[in-house]
């Protein structure tokens, strides 16, 4: 009887693997990449926080403690959001919602970054042109900023709305 149950369990496991079409190595690679990406984001965010606190005039020890605790919190949130299959490396179908959400967040992060980079580059280009034309620094910055605002509005209009609100379509 026990052997039957074990066999059934193994068959279900195999079926799930066949259904998702993903082997153990693929899952491990995906988990490694995702965890690495999340760790990078957490480390960069911690660095930014540390710099921000330094500029704000917080003492070194307090700065370190705050940054460490914040990173811990961020890691916990990331682990909570991550699909459990990425942590256990088991093939399950229950975490699809979470997996989709974390994918959406990462997509959104990448997309917003790309948009910011493109808008900044365009604004810097305009700034250089205006500087060559001999326009004053402050005036130049204002014109470039207004131009970038326009570009942002166009980009937000063109971007998929689900990536801005982080809701499933």
């Amino acid at each position: 009887m026990k052997e039957d149950v074990k066999e059934d369990g193994a068959t279900v496991h195999e079926n799930v693997e066949a259904k998702t079409g993903e082997g153990y190595i693929q899952r491990a690679l995906r988990a490694t990449l995702t965890i690495w990406l999340i760790l990078t984001v957490v480390i960069v965010a911690a660095f930014g926080l540390s710099e921000t606190l330094r500029v704000a005039g917080v003492e070194r020890e307090a700065n370190l403690l705050i940054v460490f605790l914040s990173s811990l919190l961020l890691i916990l949130v990331a682990l909570w959001l991550l699909p459990r299959t990425l942590l256990t490396l088991k093939a399950e179908e229950k975490d699809e919602g979470r997996q989709r959400y974390i994918q959406q967040v990462l997509q959104s992060l990448a997309l917003i970054w790309v948009v910011l980079a493109v808008v900044t580059l365009a604004a810097i280009g305009l700034y250089s042109l205006l500087r060559a034309a001999g326009i004053e620094r402050d005036e130049n910055l204002l014109i470039s900023f207004l131009f970038s605002l326009l570009l942002i509005l166009v980009a937000l209009w063109l971007l998929p709305k689900s990536l801005l609100t982080l809701k499933a379509e």
Binding site: A45, G48, E51, T52, S108, V115, L116, L141, S148
Partner: protein, 185 residues
């Protein structure tokens, strides 16, 4: 007996959703305001970091830093006004919508809660995304040093994009809420 009890139960069904609605809308807008303050404060400190690196630059560059800070103050002010006005307009719209129709506003509390929770999650995550991006640029600033006016433009663009995304998220929440109430009618 039945008639005596009926008005009571009706009153309860009228008031509970309205109170719940006000609490949810206030909660979401408060969170949005807090996220806005946090992200813009970080951008302000980012600009302070840029100014710190510009100490040994000539005066025109430092003057530009001060000008960028003024621009950020304007963005901040506009965003606070936008969130405040958005909150008042949302409440007014929901109340007028409720009074305009003969039937009182009705909704499935679970659905309204779900809509609010989704918006809450979206607003919080977007704030984290922008904070991470600002941190990335801070890292770049530390690595390559300030290249006037690159990081100033980055700071201003990031702040304005965040404000616009936040306003859109709040608008989307209000629209979802309205949709939910209309669906129930």
């Amino acid at each position: 007996m039945d008639n005596i009890l009926r008005p009571k139960s009706n009153r309860q069904s009228d008031t509970t959703p309205i109170l719940q609605l006000i609490a949810l809308v206030t909660g979401i807008f408060l969170l949005a305001f807090a996220a806005d303050v946090l992200v813009l404060k970080i951008v302000e400190l980012f600009i302070a970091g840029i100014a710190e690196q510009d100490t040994f630059f000539y005066s025109a560059v430092r003057q530009q830093d001060a000008f960028a800070k003024n621009l950020l103050d304007v963005i901040k002010l506009i965003s606070f006004i936008a969130v405040g006005v958005g909150f008042l307009v949302t409440l007014a719209f929901l109340f007028i919508g409720g009074r305009g129709s003969k039937e009182p506003l009705k909704s499935d509390p679970k659905e309204v809660l779900k809509v609010s929770a989704l918006s809450l999650r979206g607003i919080a995550t977007t704030a984290v995304i922008f904070i991470a991006l600002i941190a990335l640029y801070e890292l770049l600033l530390r690595i390559v040093g300030n290249q006037p006016p690159f990081f100033l433009i980055v700071a201003l663009v990031t702040a304005s994009m965040y404000v616009l995304v936040l306003v859109y998220a709040l608008f989307d929440y209000t629209r979802d809420l309205q949709g939910e109430y209309r669906r129930q009618e």
